[in-house]
Symmetry: C2
Amino acid sequence: MNTHNAYALRARAQHARRHGHAPYGLGTSLAALPARPADSGEQGSEKPEQKNATARRHPLADRHTNARLAYCEDSVKGRFEAIAPALKALSAVQHLEDFPNLAQNIARERLGYALPQGILDDAWVAGLDLKALYAHCAFSALKAAAAQFALDIKNQLEQVQDTRNFFLDCGFHAVDISPCADGRLKGLSRYILRLPLTSLTRRKAYAGALFDVETDVRHWVATELRRFREGVPTTADAGTRYLKIAVYHTSSSDPCHEGCAAHGSNEAKAIEAALERLMQFRQAIQNAFCCGASTDILLIGVDTDNDSIKVHIPDANGDLSAYRHVDNAKLYEETAGLSGDRARAAVYDAIRAASRKDGWGAGHGEPHDGMRRLIANLLVNNFSQIEYVNDLYDGRYPDIGHAERYISVGDGFEEVQMRNVAYYAHLHTLEEGVADMDVGIKIFKGLNVKHGLPIPVAIHYRYDARVPGARERVAEKARRVTNAIRARYADLAAQGLLACHLSVQDLPTGSPIESLED
Amino acid sequence: MNTHNAYALRARAQHARRHGHAPYGLGTSLAALPARPADSGEQGSEKPEQKNATARRHPLADRHTNARLAYCEDSVKGRFEAIAPALKALSAVQHLEDFPNLAQNIARERLGYALPQGILDDAWVAGLDLKALYAHCAFSALKAAAAQFALDIKNQLEQVQDTRNFFLDCGFHAVDISPCADGRLKGLSRYILRLPLTSLTRRKAYAGALFDVETDVRHWVATELRRFREGVPTTADAGTRYLKIAVYHTSSSDPCHEGCAAHGSNEAKAIEAALERLMQFRQAIQNAFCCGASTDILLIGVDTDNDSIKVHIPDANGDLSAYRHVDNAKLYEETAGLSGDRARAAVYDAIRAASRKDGWGAGHGEPHDGMRRLIANLLVNNFSQIEYVNDLYDGRYPDIGHAERYISVGDGFEEVQMRNVAYYAHLHTLEEGVADMDVGIKIFKGLNVKHGLPIPVAIHYRYDARVPGARERVAEKARRVTNAIRARYADLAAQGLLACHLSVQDLPTGSPIESLED
């Protein structure tokens, strides 16, 4: 599929949705793509082909992938957006005699799946239970999205191998990323940094990017043991390193309100806190494990208005500074008019220039060669995403604030990586994560409850099928957390405004999602 | 100090307590030993010297250590038992004009420490706050006990090294013990099995001995990495093994009521559940880590009436059975009249006989040589404890049920190892451990609240000082758990019947206990 075709396909899909029928001829994963009414079209994408032709083009942007990701975003978000209008249509006909059949026909046509028959059959008694239907549809959309992403990941196997090799080539045998849990960073790996899920990467989000040092040290230990015992992915004497990355975020158009809530939308505080954690992590390993136990650290900032990144450049000692970084939005502007080769050279120049910075943020020399190549790659990858936001949203997302579709509790659906699709509360117990959860519930009171719609809460945990009894234990955990959530938000639960969905999943990426009986 | 002298000392200490004055001449650690009134004397210890002379003597029992442990138990429990009578004395004089001075004199004489001046000064207004004083004294007794144990551990360094070498000699580089959390097993290592705390041993209690497989796999990983990276305690190619031991318990005199509450006092269920966990642990390691990742497992039962053990004997494949074990109470009887050498040979014979058992519980051959020596050693060690209970309690504890002094929450005071001194709720969040905590509160409603006394809850967590920020994080955790406990038992807290004490401690055994401001 060449670039032009990809964009054309996306345009066709949008056209089809505007006219209320399902798109066609787009392969298996599209069979269930829902229709979407005309009024939910995005800004600035009216005539994609023409717009794309005139938009700024960066020589290093990957337009093929952009088209694939645009289609993915469109269909996933479309599934969620189709729910309310379809249910509205059902509501209008709920008192007709043949309602259950009529309703299933509408659902199949506009949503792509059937609804629970019982709810439809009982509608004549006490009215249609639209809250229950909404919850059912939201979780159906989520499961379909996860399945679609899983399929897409399978089709990326070659790219995964390339990325693995690239990391190893840069001297990293593990890359552990901790972004903030904010829903606007949910597309970090897949969209913003364009890194596929590989066996080398690990991603765990925490409010304010304040990752848990003790948990991360344990992951480091497990990684190192595998190298020593099995020589995977590199042998212990290979001299490769463990890389820990923290990712904070800001909003360039409304920095004092739409930045990171955990740090009161204060960028300086967010940076300082992330730097402190990174340093604690590095120090913990050095102190607790003797000779040669060293790790690399890296800090990245994301402007959630347009997904452009700032990469803080380590010096030759691996030390970071709040004031020594490359601003990729600026670099994109400066390199957009160059040839591919010159643009690439300019990226390396920018890293070098940052390393030689005087005054505030001055460091001791340049980072090692592998680190330079990794950073250059991240910057170039991010060019594609900057162009993506330029193309589809005129350089700034329309939803600069919260517009999440569900609350993700627990380990989260690692396969579903997309901006603003979920508010993420990574918790093992509500007791520990109650602050995060309270924030999520508050956001959804504005997004859903205000309109009489329930809050979809997807409680999801991973288990290791190789460990006997692990699935039962993790299912028990999901039930415990669900009960704690229902007890804390008892008023919402009593009104049917808190819809919980429990699921578990085996560890390997792309394993099926197993729904649990509540 | 020879054996006779040790027992004589204990008798002198008891005599001193009976006559209401502090004992003397027993070294530094005794300076603060509290007086104890006559009515709290133990059964069957009226004339220890004469009784000891006539009691059955086992050739392999270590009477020197028995004397030391008896003194330790006596002084630690004495500290707790002295509290109520001393406060009763204070209560009687609380309306005298010079009460504060009078009270401090009584406290120093009978408890060995001063009381909070403010509470004494304010007594004339609203009466003496005896609940607050009781809580203060309980935590003072606990801290003094911990300090005494820590000192004792320092004096055992030689024995620690011997035990380490013995484990290594038996082919074990780590011994991970999970007993039930029941307070009657709190003296497992120190009293029942006579194993000092070494760097090779790890002890973590769980209700019903149902240890967490995932946590234990992580400990295995950390242990193996240290072997690979640092060659500590053995190098990776040494062929030594990781040993996981589970410990269940029963009560021979009232098996249907005073057994393990987590398994409804059903011995068969307790054994089955522990065996299943052990198997899951072994399987988890074998499945998740390739070639050579094997562990040994062992199951031990304790009769909490008299501290005698049953050791389930692994076969040549390392497999266990509920029906193949050596009953040490029986073995003690059979070997008490023999010479030391013949008794020792009889222990090995008993292990061999169990291995050759037919029918139910038949296994495939004998365990490996190191395992046989380990088991023999545990059985011989336990002879001393059987004799201890014979000598001091006529072969059966007077408190066959619960008689704990405080609830221990969190990581627990590993140094304080003594039967029935604490009810232990090992929890990281109340949400996960709420069932254990509810049981503890219920027990203490009977023990303390019924008499108008508060429940002392000691919330205690360990941290790794080598990890930056670890102390602050663990202190935060202690505060979170405390708040959760206060919220759940709000009625008790409001009446001043829930006294919480927060503390943290660095990892190395014997580190000082740091009390936290609440």
